[in-house]
C-alpha cells in the first residue's frame, strides 16, 4: 500500500509517530527529513517497540548504529540507502517519510517528484508499504496532484 498522508503542519510529527506505531510490518524504515532523530529519539523509540526500526536521517548526523546520515540534496544517495536498507530486511517492510517537504528545501519540486515516483515504483516491486507524510500547504498544487495520482490512497488528516 502506497499512502500519501496530508496533515496540518503542527500534526506532522504526531502523524509520523502514529504511522510508525501502527505499521503492521515488523521491519520499519523511517526517513527523517524535518526533525533529526536526536530531537525525537525517546518518542520514536517508544513507537518502535516490538519492531525492527532503521533510520535514515537527512537532518543531522548521528553515531547510533542503525542510523545512516544522507545529505538532503543527494537524492540519489538517499535512494541507494533506502534500497540497501530494504535489502537488509529479511521480510517485507514499511517505509515512512516524516515530511517529504523537508526534502524540498534542497531540491526542486520536479526533481523531488522524480525521486518519489521512482521510490513508489520500487516499493511496489519490493511489496513494501510506503507512507509519505506531507504537511499541508508546503508544496505546490501540481506537485500534490501528480503525487496523489501515483499513490494507492490519499488520506487527509484534520
Amino acid at each position: 500500500m502506497i499512502k500519501l498522508l496530508i496533515t496540518p503542519s503542527e500534526k506532522a510529527s504526531s502523524s509520523f509517530l502514529n504511522a510508525v506505531k501502527n505499521s503492521s510490518r515488523k521491519n520499519t524504515l523511517c526517513v527523517l527529513c524535518s526533525k533529526s532523530l536526536l530531537l525525537i529519539e525517546t518518542k520514536v523509540k517508544d513507537a518502535c517497540k516490538g519492531k525492527t526500526c532503521s533510520f535514515i536521517d537527512t537532518v543531522s548526523e548521528s553515531k547510533e548504529q542503525n542510523v545512516v546520515y544522507i545529505p538532503p540534496a543527494n537524492l540519489t544517495a538517499l535512494s541507494i540507502a533506502i534500497n540497501q536498507t530494504q535489502q537488509s530486511f529479511k521480510d517485507k517492510s514499511t517505509i515512512i517519510f516524516d515530511s517529504i517537504s523537508g526534502l524540498a528545501v534542497r531540491n526542486n519540486p520536479n526533481t523531488l517528484i522524480k525521486f518519489l515516483l521512482f521510490l513508489i515504483k520500487k516499493s511496489t516491486d519490493w511489496g513494501s508499504d510506503l507512507i509519505l507524510i506531507l504537511p499541508e500547504k508546503t508544496m505546490p498544487e501540481d506537485f500534490i496532484a501528480t503525487l496523489s495520482s501515483s499513490v494507492d490512497k490519499v488520506e487527509k488528516r484534520k
Binding site: P71, A73, T76, A77, S79, I80, N83, R106, T111
Partner: protein
Amino acid sequence: MSFFNRHKSKKSKDKKKKISKSSIKQIKKQREPIKKIINRTKHKEGNSSEWVKTGIPGMDELFEKGIPKGISTLIAGGAGSGKTIMCLQILHNAAMKGEKGIYISLEESEDRLRKHMDDFGWKAEELEKKGLIKIQRFKPFAISRQVEALLSKERGELKMNLSQLGDLIPKSFKPKWVIIDSLTALSSAFKDDEMSYRIYVEQLFRYLEGLGANSFLISETDQIPIIFSKTGVEEFLADGVIVLYNIRNRNVRENAIEVLKLRGAKHEKKIVAMQITDKGIVVYPDQEVYSEFGEGK
C-alpha cells in the same frame, strides 16, 4: 531521457546552458586535423566472441555480455570522478583471478598509486611480489621529446613506430590488462606540437591493439564533458568510451557513469548512479541520477 536529450530540452529554457557557438567551433577545429587518421583507421569489425568483466560491483550489468576482449576503452571524466580508482580496481580484480596487469602512470608516482590501492585494501605490494601487477611511471616530457626528435628525423612524415621509442611494457611481462593514466598528461607534454601528439596516440592505440590486452586509457575532461579527450582523436581511436561524472547538486556532489560507446557490444544507454565507497567503486545499474546535469561544473 538521456543526458543529451535532457541537455537539448534544457537549451530552450536556459540560454546560458546552450552549447555555445565557440564550443561547436572548438569541436570542429578539433576534428579537422584528425580526418587523415580517421580515414586510414580500420576498426575491428563484427561482434566479439570473447568477453571480459571488470569485476566492479554493478558495472558489468551495464554490458549485455561484457567488454569485448582485447579492446581499448577510454575512461573519461573530470577531477574526482573516480577514473584512477576504477582502473586500479579493474587491475586488482583481474589480479585476483590470476590475470596480469600493468598500470602505466604519466602523472602520479608509483608509491602514491600503491597507497591508493592499499587505502581500499587491495594490497599492491603483495600483488607486485606475486608478479600479477606492475606499476610503472613514465615522464610524459621524455616521451614527447623522443617523439619530436624521431618525427623531425623523418621530416614530419607519419613514419614513426612506437617500437622505436622503447617498450612501455617490459618484454618479460605479458599483461592481459593495461592502464594508461593519463592521455591528458601526455598531451600536455606536447603542448606546442599537437600533430606529433596525434601521431603518437595513433601509434599507441595500434601498439595496444597488437598486445591484445584489455586496455583502459584515462582522459581528464570537464565534469560534464561535451568532448571526451584533448584532441578528439583518442575517442575516435578507442573502441569504447566510458564517461564518469562528478555532478554538483547545490552543496553536494554525486557520481554517475555512462557507457557512451562500445564497438561490437550491446550496452545500457543511460546515465546511472555510482558511488566511491571505502571498498572501491560500486555502480547501481538501476538507479537513476537526480542531479541536474546542467547545474554544476
